[in-house]
Subunit: 500 residues, 2 copies
């Protein structure tokens, strides 16, 4: 059996090497590539992805996995070997169902769709994107049918990002919190509003980076095993054990975009840096799902990085970086400004209280598209109706509405829910952390993050993808994903800020 | 036949995609990768290189090439198709001879050798490198035997970098110029020496980059299809049509290292940027050999960038960048300083008059190693003896002698000669250019490089690797590589500077 495990790991290592190489090419494409390189880069990425897919779904892999599954009853089901076999078998069963020509077709459809989306968004003209979105929907429906029979047609899409989770589960969770989030936002709207004009001053890039680096380092990011670069859209990507990149963008006339994205990506990066080397070059290496990953980015960005105790420690240093801009602003006014609640059109700029509503409307629209209840042409109206109903405002144009996100043009259907689930998980874990370490706030108030990082390391990061997300969250918190902790968190935090 | 050509091109495109992806990973390794990423990156590069080799030497490729060769007699021998078949067949015959275990063995030997070399050079202790060099020699001898029968055991090594060229040809060329270069250096040593202390002032990085960018742009580098980054060792690398990178290093207390390396790498880059898109994703895409490539880097670095007419135009702008450092230095004094001739130990810092001698001694030592006349243990003494005889000085230690270059530790035997051949080719082409365009100097004196670039484009760059190097040079200059033009160039230039 050990010999077969080694054979499997040889295949996995090759697949992983190809995928990480794609990662490097993708990162460079965003961070440094001159525009003339786009066509060749697309070809290279296409080749690497095809080779990776072909190697993984090879019959040899299937045969090996069948044999290993048969003999894995001898193993402790929580052992590394048993988990490796289980996770690989799940991935294999998924990938082998997808015919090569559908992989190629998706690449072609989305190459055109993403180009059309860029033009459509720039012109705020949905009609340019509409036919491409129909093709993405059509492809996604056919993809979902590969996994029939199913409880819900959307399940296969969700499962790719949130292994083991069902559409009905997500709907039940979201149904439970939606009215309460809407209620909170209405309550806040009736109170005196926060003035965040202090954040819209000139903050030179060098000072922002210097302060960011101080916090990222204090969080525990290992610079010997990672670096930070600039891109148009921030992201985090891993090139194998020992090489974790984060990317950020900087706005010199608005404080938030750099710092909070940097802390967000650092959260993803700390998770990846905490996965042990023993899992490297296998599918167990890396975060277990997008929701659990997002729980980490949101925790370090918001639960830590937008907390009053955090700024009690760091604000004097920020004032030193920007004495003219912030020297006379109190820490409480600054804290309120960075936590201003305000329904707005763009998801990535949304505050903690409204953010989930942006996600829920997308999920509903995606499900309706998959169920055949909506087609591309119906989307702008459906979007605006829901936006008005959840957030009380109507997008002035499609660029600020249905065209704002890149995901559908990349064929990423089933992805959005994980953003909101991540928020919920972050608060659910946070309650456990507070219980396990009653002095956590005192530690953060001193700028000490090692205890928090150790806890996360032991309870989450070290497991990589050994456990499915719901399994891991239940193991750590005693229950599957539920929305109550996040609602308690929002109500307590914004109750204090807005005197509710 | 057209169908078979397309089949071949599909294989070639995949191989090229894998190789260019390796290029991106290698570039990032030097430019940005955190040190923790080394192990994973080595594995990824190993996988990409193995896959590329396997795809190319697949029996399918061989069969296709055999069939194409048979029917290629119908083709114009200078046509794209005929050249593609010829070049691919040559590469295939070479690569298919190398057993996979020798490819793997080389990777293992050189991984350890390059690590040992770094330690040996840092400690200036040849004994740390000696056993590894013996392994590299042993591997190289076995590699050469794969190509028996041969005229000379060194031929196969040379042929990998300079297709079609024989050891005897190179020896004859070098034997013809060596005594004359030695003589020139002796004559210069008897004259009043040049003072280059003005180059050893503080030159802030930003000013160096600004001036460099001005010249690189004037040369005709297309920034939409390329960029410049910093690395420890400068290099130039191509990621496919539309994406050409150059890398540089900057010393703030010495003017030469940034600018002349930048112009050197720009020379390589202009060649690659000039190869037409129609050749992309095949072995015809890119410069035809290292010597012809080096002729371009040395031409733009030296024949243009260290010429009096060039500085007549650009020196006032350089003075504006560095008014304190150079405001009172005349253009003639500056010109002499950057062209100072002075025997020195380190090849990469050598001036135009002494540089080839550094190469010749390496070539002789490599040939002796391959012939079995020298083993690793003999190298320090053999190095120092030749150095004394050619350059009149003896390295004070092995770090400044036999240990200075990284090449052997990478298993790059057969590579060095191309550096000196490149110098010769640059002057040989230059004489043709001067004849074809008598006003070339006037153009350069006005900062106009478009006529020069057009000439190179038409005569060299557009052909990519369609012609073998000797074939191309003969086609353009009327004769194969010969040393006379370079000797004329050196004698004229340094005769004027040193009043010989």
């Amino acid at each position: 059996m050990q010999k077969k495990i080694e054979e499997l790991k040889t295949i996995l290592a090759e697949v992983d090497d190809l995928d990480r190489a794609s990662g490097v090419l993708g990162w460079d494409q965003e961070a440094y590539m001159p525009k003339g390189g786009a066509e060749a880069r697309g070809q290279q990425l296409g080749t690497l992805q095809r080779l990776s897919h072909e190697r993984f779904v090879d019959k040899k892999t299937g045969k090996l996995l069948d044999e290993l599954k048969k003999s894995s009853s001898e193993l402790d089901p929580d052992s590394y070997e048993a988990r490796l076999i289980k996770v690989c078998a799940r991935l294999y069963e998924r990938e082998v169902k997808v015919p090569s020509d559908m992989v190629t077709e998706k690449a072609e459809v989305t190459a055109l769709a993403s180009q059309a989306w860029q033009e459509a968004r720039a012109a705020s003209d949905f009609s340019k994107f509409e036919p491409h979105l129909d093709k993405v929907i059509d492809w996604s429906r056919r993809y979902a049918e590969l996994f029939a029979p199913y409880d819900h047609v959307y399940d296969a899409l969700l499962d790719a990002y949130e292994p083991g989770m069902k559409t009905a589960e997500v709907q039940a969770i979201f149904d439970g919190i939606r009215p309460k989030q809407v209620e909170l936002i209405k309550a806040i709207a009736g109170k005196e509003q926060v003035d965040d004009s202090i954040l819209h001053q000139n903050f030179p890039e060098a000072g922002q980076f210097a302060f960011g680096k101080e916090v990222i380092t204090a969080y525990g990011f290992d610079w010997d095993r990672g670096r930070e670069d600039k891109t148009t859209h921030p992201f985090s990507t891993n090139f194998g054990y020992g090489d974790q990149r984060i990317t950020v963008r900087v706005s010199e006339d608005y404080f938030n975009p750099y710092l909070f994205a940097a802390l967000h990506e650092t959260g993803h990066a700390l998770y990846e840096q905490g996965v042990p080397k023993s899992l490297a070059r296998t599918p167990l290496y890396g975060g277990t799902s997008l929701a659990v990953h997002e729980s980490q980015s949101r925790m370090w960005e918001n639960l830590v990085g937008r907390s009053r105790v955090f700024w009690g420690h760091f604000y004097p240093n920020l004032q030193k970086q920007f004495p003219e801009q912030l020297g006379k602003v109190s820490v409480d006014d600054f804290y309120k400004a960075i936590n201003k609640v305000h329904p707005s059109f763009i998801r990535v700029e949304a505050d903690e209280a409204t953010y989930n509503l942006h996600i829920m409307l997308r999920l509903e629209l995606e499900i309706a598209m998959m169920e055949g209840k909506l087609n591309a042409k119906d989307m702008p109206e459906a979007w605006n109706e829901r936006f008005e109903s959840y957030l009380g405002i109507t997008p002035p144009d499609d660029a600020q509405g249905v065209l704002q996100d890149v995901h559908w043009s990349f064929g990423l259907m089933g992805y959005f829910a994980t953003y909101a689930l991540g928020n919920l998980v972050s608060a659910q874990l946070w309650e456990v952390i507070q219980r396990d370490m009653p002095d956590m706030d005192d530690q953060i108030a001193k700028g000490e993050f090692a205890p928090l990082l150790s806890w996360l390391q032991e309870n989450i990061y070290q497991h990589g993808s050994m456990f499915e997300p719901q399994e891991l969250i239940e193991k750590v918190s005693g229950s599957k994903i539920n929305g109550e902790p996040y609602l308690r968190y929002l109500n307590e935090k914004f109750g204090a800020i807005y005197n509710l």
